[in-house]
């Protein structure tokens, strides 16, 4: 069940993506979440689990073919000639297949861009993905996503798993995994270099986060404490770990593959905990494909291959991350001069421009992005406690125009559940039934204005609308506050709306205090394909993420609770759908989701990434996927000129 063959097969069958994803999403949730046996290691050839999913896949394949016929029909309707398109697609497929079939070559240093600031060395204590982007190559998780689109799971530190009932998960732990034997972390006297990974190590990580206590007894900022609290107890028995959940939770197993759930070595974690915000490489040890050798915020990070990695081993000799360029000119110079091997940007403009000029030497992959863009309105306080005003705002947001402006059209509108969690999202063809997402903007605006007037909007005086600094400081997006203000002013034929910027450092605490100003920017990431936990966190009464104080025991709470425990996908999906419909009818209660965008990742041809085709996959999951399979081809014609300039030693 290797990911490579799966993709090739799907592509060869020219199955329409939506259908395939819908099918395998069900399979993913169903099979992986509910199936009796989980698909393990890539090397293991388990026929039994394949059989379970295969029948379903066969059924869906028939459905898919019907859909394909429909899609083809749509193609002709949109003036694209079939023969030309087919030719193009076949050529593209052949190119893809050709690249897929190349034999990987070992060696080389891969250079990427990294973030600028890191708040801790401990994955359990971080809430921010820059830290994870580094640690994901150094440490391992229990499970990981082999295919983030479908939610297909595969083993990492666990070689296989079983789910005998809705409340129990039994993990078979992999043999022969050892902690790094060399590097600053291994040389640290507080760590034990090279020893075998034990079940106790894993249990320590889990219980530590569950209890949420630091060594000194105080509460620590453990971001996944709520998640791990679903475990009531852990039994360890002869190479297997049994998790006994407190209650039935169908979403739990996917969470094991959550990017943040990296496992650290207990003795080192304890020893460095007091100084975990002091970044240095000797505080990190892992079981992953790379060993951390340097970590200097503001300068760079480097890692070298772990010769003892349990999997077929990493390809590249080492990784170097250089500090984020921050300036688009510098980034562009860096990429075009082959000093970084990849480049991406939420604004696809520059990346597309570069690819245009270097079409034959660079490769574009389009990735859906888990950072959702939303408008937050504070329905706790005047004047927004009048839901008519909130709904007016929701209707007035010109989502599609924003996608056009900021992302050149690369994006899709999202409802309360983003389209990235496709198995749970309202399908794109159906979401247009809602005024806020309607294609007929004029009608929506009529409704919006009626609500605005009814709620007394024109009497509100000047309204400050906040965009985050991180968004507005991007060179190409520096007039965002004005764009948002204009959008609302035009919608309501007024001049009340004024755009301002604030840093997340000010914005986030105000969310928790429920004193926040109206807002437009990114909101917290989606982390797994299953949307139920996110919906519960946002809308369940009293949930920590429910900063709008939504309290709907019948319409929302009951349904969410039922959905979380529900093992049958169709039933669960139905419930979530009902909740979403209700939420949208109420102006999303102020949590007005706008869209998720897609961005192109450009790489030089000499870099072969793991995700070899376009995916709907999440950008930050790519870190652990790429760690193993990404490789450099020095024989590729584009490689010329690369070795001449190399990053300076850190």
């Amino acid at each position: 069940m290797s990911e490579r063959n799966y993709w090739t097969r799907m592509r060869r069958q020219r199955v329409s993506r939506r259908t395939m994803l819908g099918a395998s999403a069900k399979a993913g949730v169903g099979a992986a979440g509910i199936a009796l046996v989980g698909c393990g290691d890539d090397d293991d050839d388990d026929d039994a689990p394949a059989a379970v999913t295969q029948t379903q896949a066969d059924e869906d394949h028939a459905e898919a073919q019907a859909d394909q016929a429909q899609a083809d029909q749509a193609d002709t309707d949109t003036n694209l000639s079939r023969p030309a398109r087919e030719e193009e697609e076949q050529a593209a497929e052949q190119a893809v297949v050709a690249r897929l079939d190349m034999t990987p070559v070992d060696g080389g240093t891969i250079v990427e861009q990294s973030a600028n600031v890191y708040e801790t060395v401990d994955a359990s204590l971080t809430v921010a993905s820059p830290v994870i982007q580094v640690l994901a190559r150094i440490q391992s998780k229990l499970l990981r996503f082999s295919n983030p689109d479908s939610g297909e799971l595969t083993g990492d530190l666990a070689s296989g798993w079983e789910i005998p009932d809705g409340q129990t998960i039994v993990l078979q732990l992999r043999d022969g995994v050892t902690w790094h034997a060399e590097g600053p972390g291994a040389d640290n006297p507080a760590s034990t270099a090279g020893r075998a990974l034990t079940a106790e190590d894993l249990a320590f990580n889990i219980n530590r986060q569950k209890n949420g206590r630091l060594v000194d007894g105080t509460d620590g900022p453990f971001g996944r404490k709520g998640y791990w609290s679903s475990i009531d107890s852990i039994d360890i028995d002869d190479g297997a770990m049994t998790m006994n959940l407190a209650g039935p939770d169908a979403t739990f197993v996917q969470g094991l593959a959550n990017e943040f759930n990296l496992m650290g070595q207990p003795e080192l974690l304890n020893a460095v905990e007091a100084e975990n915000i002091d970044i240095s490489p000797d505080k990190v040890i892992g079981t992953g494909p790379f060993i951390l050798t340097e970590w200097v915020p503001g300068e760079g990070i480097s890692a070298v291959r772990n010769p003892d990695y349990y999997n077929q081993g990493a390809r590249a000799d080492s990784y170097v991350w250089i500090q984020s360029f921050e300036d688009p000119t510098a980034y562009r110079i860096g990429f075009e001069q082959k000093q970084v091997d990849t480049m991406s940007d939420p604004d696809p403009d520059v990346v597309l421009a570069i690819h245009d000029g270097l079409v034959d030497e660079t490769n574009l992959t389009f990735q859906g992005v888990a950072n959702t863009v939303a408008v937050y309105v504070n329905s706790n306080l005047e004047p927004w406690n009048d839901l008519r005003l909130v709904k007016a705002i929701d209707l007035a947001i010109n989502r599609r125009q924003l996608i056009q402006q900021f992302h050149n059209g690369l994006g899709k509108v999202s409802g309360p559940v983003s389209w990235m969690q496709e198995a749970w999202a309202i399908p794109q063809e159906e979401i247009t039934d809602f005024s806020a997402y309607s294609v007929d903007r004029d009608a929506a605006l009529v409704e919006a204005n009626a609500l605005w007037q009814a709620g007394g909007g024109p009497d509100l005086g000047p309204i400050d609308w906040v965009t985050s600094e991180t968004w507005a400081l991007r060179a190409a997006w520096n007039s965002t506050p004005e764009i948002i203000a204009t959008m609302f002013n035009d919608a309501f034929s007024t001049d009340q709306f004024v755009g301002v910027t604030k840093s997340y450092g000010e914005i986030i605490p105000s969310w928790f205090n429920k004193t926040f100003d109206p807002f437009f920017s990114w909101i917290p990431n989606i982390e797994i394909p299953d949307a139920r936990a996110d919906m519960a966190a946002a809308f369940k009464s009293g949930a920590p993420g429910n900063i709008w104080s939504v309290s709907e025991p019948d319409a929302i709470d009951a349904k969410l609770t039922a959905a979380l425990a529900e093992l049958d996908y169709d039933t669960a999906n139905g419930l979530i759908r009902e909740v979403q419909d209700f939420v949208i009818e109420n102006g999303q209660f102020g949590r007005c989701i706008c869209y998720n965008y897609i961005y192109p990742l450009i790489t030089w041809n000499y870099l072969h990434p793991t995700l070899k085709t376009e995916t709907e996959g999440w950008n930050f999951l790519a870190a652990s996927l790429n760690a193993v399979d990404q490789w450099l081809d020095p024989n590729d014609p584009s490689f010329e000129g690369r070795s001449a300039l190399s990053p300076k030693p850190i």
């Binding site: 921010a128 900022p221 971001g223 300068e299 921050e326």
Partner: protein, 319 residues
Amino acid sequence: MQQYIIRRAVLNVFVLFIVATMVFFAVQVLPGNFATQQFASANLGGVTPESIARAESVLGLDKPVVAQYGTFLWDLVQFDLGESFRSKRSVWSELGRAVPYSMELGFLIVLVGFSIAIPVGILSAVHQDKLPDYVLRGGAIFALAAPVFWTASIAVIFVLKWDLFKIDVTGQPHLWENPQTALQWYLIPMFAGGIAGTATTMRLLRSQMLEVLRQDYVVTARAKGLRERTIIMRHALRNAWLPVLTVMGLTIATIIGSQIVLEQMFNIPGVGRLLFQSIFLRDTPLLEGLVLVVAFVVVFTNLFVDVLYGLLDPRVRLA
């Protein structure tokens, strides 16, 4: 002379004290601090007020302002600039890395700039209000008026599109390590900055030359039949250049820390870029240290230039 130097030096220390106080309280008044700004650069997860508060206490940001000010001054007197919040390296160490780059860039900018400004200044003075003056001055003024970031952006695109030469934004070699690569890296910024940065010098030289050229001794020299060239170089220039020297000194003094835009665009890890980053990150020790060092350079270069001026110009007596 000695008394003068000593007195000026003492006054300079007083000035630096004012600068230190200014920057300290400016940072205090800025909304947010390093703890809150950390999450600004990151993607969002479950950030809580507790995690921010915890970070603040570790950094010592929750102590009362007066106490922090006291610690700050006390450390300063011992030349202890503290550690950067972000990299945890000492501020002196960060400076040690950044200053050489800024000096290199500054040196090159000044080199380019004065190589252009001085001939242009002289020539346009000599041919005042005639065609060469118009062309040169017009051209120079046009170049001086074009924003540095604009010309640099355009130049970069040309270099990339036509693959003219390599700009090493990640290797970042020093001039002495790898002169050719370094020079290529600095090429666009030094011309963009050089052309723009020496406006005052050119103008001043021109006006000084104009004044001198009308002096009696020049008229006499002409009457004596000396060649124009000799007059200009030997007599006029020698008397005109002293004030220009002062301004050149001032330009050099302020060049460190003023090249923020160019350093950002070309990823030059110099003082300017560090200053800019530390403002947005609220990296207080780094910001304070950098500002103080830049101020130190400015005031003591001024002193040096004044002393030089006093030594070179017999008409000036420094009391």
